[in-house]
């Protein structure tokens, strides 16, 4: 087995609900359980997919992996060490690409300034000239012309902006990149261009990705392994091929069926995603699950399997009765 580059161990993130004027009088403030006890490992050179619907906590998990937010509980390890020990060094090795290329680029800076910023922060490139050369090199590597450095973000198309966002993440030669829905704000005909660019860069620069997406087809095409999240927990992890052919968790099955439907058919999971403030007891999916039994409402299913392949469902752990 390859050594894991990123290891999340029982990571949780709870947010306190915005304080109402009299909230202090209540004994305990309600909490949003955005991420709840997630363990995940990403091997060196691997593309790990993270799928789930809105409110599943997948974007929060991405930010926790980069310590952009401190986890409420659990630990994050990077290359076998605690990244908190030298956060600056960690930032040089772990980067992020954002969903909305409009919002993720500072509108009052030129593309050149945006790309030079990481270099300045980490004191890369001794001189102005050296930095300018590096910016030009970055632009070319993501398929833009070097003279784009003088442009403002609003002068670029959505696809070009996302290329700038990718170039910024690459500026300080990281080993690991969290990609938070990098193609979902783009037009259909541009999505494939960006997906191809991401694969090409990953192979050429030996990068490791955590790829967050709701597009199952793209995840299958791009990723080695996939983790499926529901209401803050990982319900199933497995190879992309296995999850595509034979998902085991009922939620993963419903997600795949909805994503690959050829005829208009109901998703088979009625009702609504419950509130993460008061998730259902036991398995959070049980109120919508066709296979649920009494045990599902009582007991939180433990994740069965190893770090590579696992599922958290009573169906595979002694039955639902």
């Amino acid at each position: 087995m390859k050594t894991p580059l990123l290891e999340l161990a029982a990571v949780s993130k709870h947010y306190e609900v915005a304080a109402a004027p009299l909230a202090g009088l209540l004994s305990e403030r309600p909490k949003v359980r955005a991420v709840e006890g997630v363990s995940l490992s990403v091997a060196q050179g691997e593309i790990m997919g993270l799928v789930g619907e809105s409110g599943s906590g997948k974007s929060t998990l991405g930010r926790l992996a980069l310590l952009l937010e401190p986890p409420t509980a659990g630990s994050v390890r990077f290359a076998g060490a605690d990244p908190q020990a030298d956060l600056n060094a960690f930032r040089r090795r772990a980067q992020m690409v954002f969903q909305d290329p409009q919002s993720s680029l500072n509108r009052s800076k030129t593309v050149g300034e945006i790309l030079a910023m990481p270099l300045q922060v980490h004191d890369v490139g001794a001189s102005r000239v050296a930095r300018r050369a590096r910016v030009a090199e970055l632009l070319t590597s993501v398929g833009l012309r070097a003279d784009a450095a003088t442009r403002y973000p609003h002068e670029l198309s959505g696809g070009q902006r996302q290329r700038v966002g990718i170039a910024r993440a690459l500026a300080i030669e990281p080993a690991f990149i969290v990609l938070d829905e990098p193609t979902s704000a783009l037009d259909v005909s541009i999505q494939a261009q960006i997906a191809n660019l991401l694969v090409e860069l990953q192979q050429r620069l030996a990068l490791t990705y955590l790829f967050i997406s709701h597009d199952l087809r793209l995840v299958r095409w791009l990723c080695d392994r996939v983790a499926v999240m529901y209401l803050g927990r990982i319900v199933e992890t497995g190879s992309a091929a296995a999850l595509w052919q034979a998902p085991r968790h009922p939620y993963a099955q419903a997600l795949l069926a909805a994503a690959t439907a050829e005829r208009a058919a109901p998703s088979g999971i009625g009702g609504e995603v419950p509130s993460p403030i008061a998730p259902p007891p036991g398995c959070a999916f049980h109120p919508r699950c066709a296979f649920a039994g009494p045990r599902c409402a009582r007991e939180v299913p433990a994740s069965r399997g190893d770090a590579q392949t696992n599922v958290a469902c009573h169906l595979y752990d002694g039955g639902v009765a």
Binding site: R63, Q95, N106, R107
Partner: protein, 299 residues
């Protein structure tokens, strides 16, 4: 932001909008009058003469007042005081208001944010003129000696008006930073490893410059008006030093008896300079946002 482009856009707007051009021209004239009062007005603003209450004419462009002083010279010399008060008070308000508002927004929600903003709310709750009157009344209209330093009365006036404007600036800054804080480029800068100070001052604040600059320009107008009100009430600039508000106060009794030039010229100057600063503020808003023009073009 690219300064050359902003200036280019500003020139473009001035060319398209004659009213804006007039406003800028007027502000330019005010600035010249403030910097070189002696060169512009030949007469002394304070020397009385026997030629009292002369109507506007060739020698006395704006006429003379009840002490025979040249109104034109007084108006010109008052310009520097009004502009000085307007600009200094806004500078004070920006100096304190920008960091306070920015820090409050960056620490929001939390104790620091509520601490700063509640203090601002308390300051805002005072009617500005009444508070200014109270402070001036408490400190007197004389220059104050603090150890070896002499604090002129005008400095007190500027500090008071400036402090009263801090909450307004802080609120504008806090509101814009709160909006900007949620943009993904802030997260991107943090992900790259930029320090909080760098994120706040180099990434976020430049994007708030446009609303703040616009507001500051409008605030210059309000401050000029506040100073004029205080001087009118006898609490601002002290006679014999000329000020627009003070000139208005001195000429009150002549409005009814037909000597209109005593009130009209200082009044007109207050009106025009306030209007010009307001117009300039609107212009600045259009000129400062590089994306605005293109964004409007998106169908």
């Amino acid at each position: 932001m690219n300064r050359g482009k902003t200036i280019g856009r500003l020139l473009g707007i001035v060319r398209r909008d004659p009213l804006a051009a007039a406003a800028f021209l007027f502000l330019l004239l005010l600035a010249i009058a403030a910097l070189f009062p002696e060169q512009i007005a030949a007469m002394s603003p304070n020397r009385p003469s026997r030629l009292r209450l002369l109507p506007p004419g060739d020698v006395y462009l704006f006429g003379t007042d009840q002490f025979g002083r040249d109104i034109f010279a007084r108006c010109v010399h008052a310009t520097s005081v009004s502009l000085l008060v307007g600009l200094t008070t806004v500078a004070i308000a920006l100096l304190l208001g920008v960091p306070l508002g920015a820090i409050a927004a960056f620490r929001s929600p939390g104790k620091i944010d509520s601490g700063i903003m509640r203090t601002m709310d308390v300051l805002m709750a005072f009617p500005p003129i009444v508070l200014a009157i109270a402070v001036v009344a408490a400190l007197g209209t004389q220059d104050i000696e603090i150890g070896p330093f002499t604090v002129p009365h005008i400095t007190k006036v500027m500090v008071v008006i400036g402090l009263l404007n801090v909450p307004k600036v802080a609120r504008i800054v806090r509101a814009s930073v709160l909006v900007e804080r949620n943009e993904q480029y802030v997260m991107a800068a943090r992900a790259v490893g930029a320090s909080e100070a760098r994120v706040l001052f180099r990434e976020v604040l430049p994007n708030c410059a446009s609303p703040v600059a616009v507001y500051a320009t409008l605030l210059v107008a309000t401050s000029i008006l506040t100073e004029a009100s205080l001087s009118f009430l006898g609490l601002g600039i002290q006679p014999p030093q000329p000020s627009w508000g003070g000139m208005l106060a001195d000429s009150r009794t002549y409005v009814m008896s037909g000597q209109w030039w005593l009130t009209v010229f200082p009044g007109l100057l207050i009106f025009l300079s306030v209007a010009a600063f307001n117009l300039a503020g609107d212009l600045l808003r259009d000129a400062l946002d590089p994306a605005q023009i293109t964004r409007r073009g998106d169908a």
